[in-house]
Symmetry: none
């Protein structure tokens, strides 16, 4: 990062901001957005409540920053994984492995989405959703491109629209991670991307 080049004061502020976000992530992921009070975040982060409001306009703002910045990092990681090779199959392998790895390394964030509360849909206001969804679809297009190129290259059969293939692959990756998260002892962490990709690579039907 370019943090080093910032004046000491600015760097200090950034560090504080990160501290707040980190505490907020922990709390939100443990108890759900609506069950965490700003005053808890402040206490845990050892700041005054007023200070939080210097960094973030309001609670939702804090939440959005938290999610968006985490997603930024996530995307960077995935982009980097994709960039490591030109081979389409290898790209998919790298993607699956990187996504798994990142989820494993960022459990609190993952849980923030899975466990916002005990039921479903204890969600925050829309708006964040829209932005994230946009970004998700944009990213899916990058994966779709891989399938598209693979089809052109005759590496892949065109068993479905590239975009749908991308989304489907991603869903299956999510599913495999979820299984592991929910019951790690029964469903091993999919170290090997083949476990997921096999479903796509091999046809289910006997000839």
């Amino acid at each position: 990062m370019a943090d080093q080049k910032l004046p000491r004061r600015e760097r200090e502020k950034l560090r504080q901001r990160q501290e707040i976000l980190s505490v907020a992530l922990d709390l939100f992921s443990q108890k759900g957005y609506h069950n965490v009070a700003m005053h808890e975040v402040a206490a845990q982060a050892e700041f005054a409540i007023g200070t939080l409001y210097k960094f973030f306009q309001n609670k939702e703002d804090l939440y959005k920053a938290l999610v968006l910045e985490e997603c930024d990092r996530f995307e960077e990681i995935l982009q980097a994984a994709l960039a490591q090779t030109e081979d389409e199959v290898e790209k998919l392998r790298h993607y699956v492995r990187a996504k798994g790895q990142w989820c494993r390394d960022n459990l609190p964030f993952v849980r923030l989405f899975l466990a916002e509360s005990r039921g479903a849909s204890f969600n925050i206001k829309a708006g964040l959703d829209d932005e994230l969804r946009q970004r998700y679809y944009v990213f899916m297009e990058r994966i779709a491109l891989i399938f598209e190129r693979g089809i052109k290259n005759r590496r892949f059969k065109k068993i479905a629209e590239p975009y749908f293939l991308a989304v489907a692959l991603d869903s299956v990756v999510d599913a495999s991670l979820l299984l592991w998260l929910d019951a790690p002892e029964r469903h091993p962490y999919p170290e090997d991307p083949e476990a997921v990709l096999g479903i796509f690579f091999q046809g289910l039907l006997e000839a």
Copy 2:
């Protein structure tokens, strides 16, 4: 239903209960559980607040009843679809079609689940509380059984563990429905189960 046989008073009560649940479903799915006040539900359903509490002990109770009863109906539909045929491939086709149909017919409820998790690309199962998750997994085992029998019957190749195959298939169905939900004009409703099943049936890789 056997509602007809109930005394008039009982039928009336059931109707009112349904009315409340229906209004609650709409509101929760539009704004999220925490952003809906009981007095809103009451007003929209044209009951006094106290009346809501005659039917449901508290807000959470109302929510749980809403979700569990909707899930009951959902499961019944799916079970019925599976029961229509003995053929494994046909069972999968019926399942995919029935699930799609049900989601199309119960959009508010579907949105209730998506609202929370969509943004992060985690699918429907996310955010379910323990009971729902249990039920989900139990149901997945029924699907897994189909794959297992298909494998024994030599209809299917064993490209993955049956249980994982079940979860993966379900995820891909969800994904396809999500695409349609989000942008019906770009992603047509997957009338034909083949659109989804093709991914599983045919191998992606060229020989």
Copy 3:
């Protein structure tokens, strides 16, 4: 009572009224006025709520009737006790014994006053208080009269104003009953009026 002379319908109503009052007394004395809902009284008495309101205008009314009628009976008992003899000392003995006996026989009612709630002063609206206080003071005047006559008769020394003597005696009776109520094993029920009256009859100071 003259109940026998009333038409059957009226007698039935009176019986129902008593049933309600009896249930209310039990509940109020167990949980305190404010912690008992009309619907509880109705349920326990096996009447519809609406029926309670046929007998009593509102909750406070029910409470007042309960207390006042119980007090009527209490007063009657005490009056009767006093009327049994002309001798002043004997009158006091009868009074103390009768009050003790009545309290022992009407524990729920006694507790209603002692345990209205866990703290103090969880009381109802004033108004009842005033009436009861009036009646209490009027009754004390009857006791005072006994002291007065005793003093005239030279049975008693005039160690204090008759009225104050009456109130003081009554307080000590209450105190002795309270001790017994609170810890019956440590403080025996004052079967013998002498236990209380001794304090008044004998001087504490050595000559």
Copy 4:
């Protein structure tokens, strides 16, 4: 108090706390616990409702603090009065005078206790919750000790168990205060402890 030594902020908080307690005492004693809403206390004390909840976890907590702290002060006063002399008779005189004085100085609090129990002629101890009752009985044991020592010293005749003597004396004091409270014009404030103690000291019966 040592309040002076506290930082200004702390002193200020204590002052506010006292203000709230004082207002609550007034309202509770006038209308009864259940007939006072927190928002009334807040309004009268000129604080926002939320501020009350900074000082006291909930309504009951506020009430308990109110009663217990007032009782602490009461006990201290009485202890101090008892400590002023070694002579048993003088101790009783000091006790009666101090209790009277304190009640006269703390009318709202006294009324808080009387409100509930007065109507039925049960005295202050009634309706106390377990903690208060415990404290009351412990204190009575101190008074009992005075009687016990007096009996040993041959100052007193043993006209009853010391503990019962203590409770009886206390009851009569309460009664005399009650009379004054209810009708100050008819029943003068018992400035002179002899008015009460006379009942104990002299025997009622003529020889």
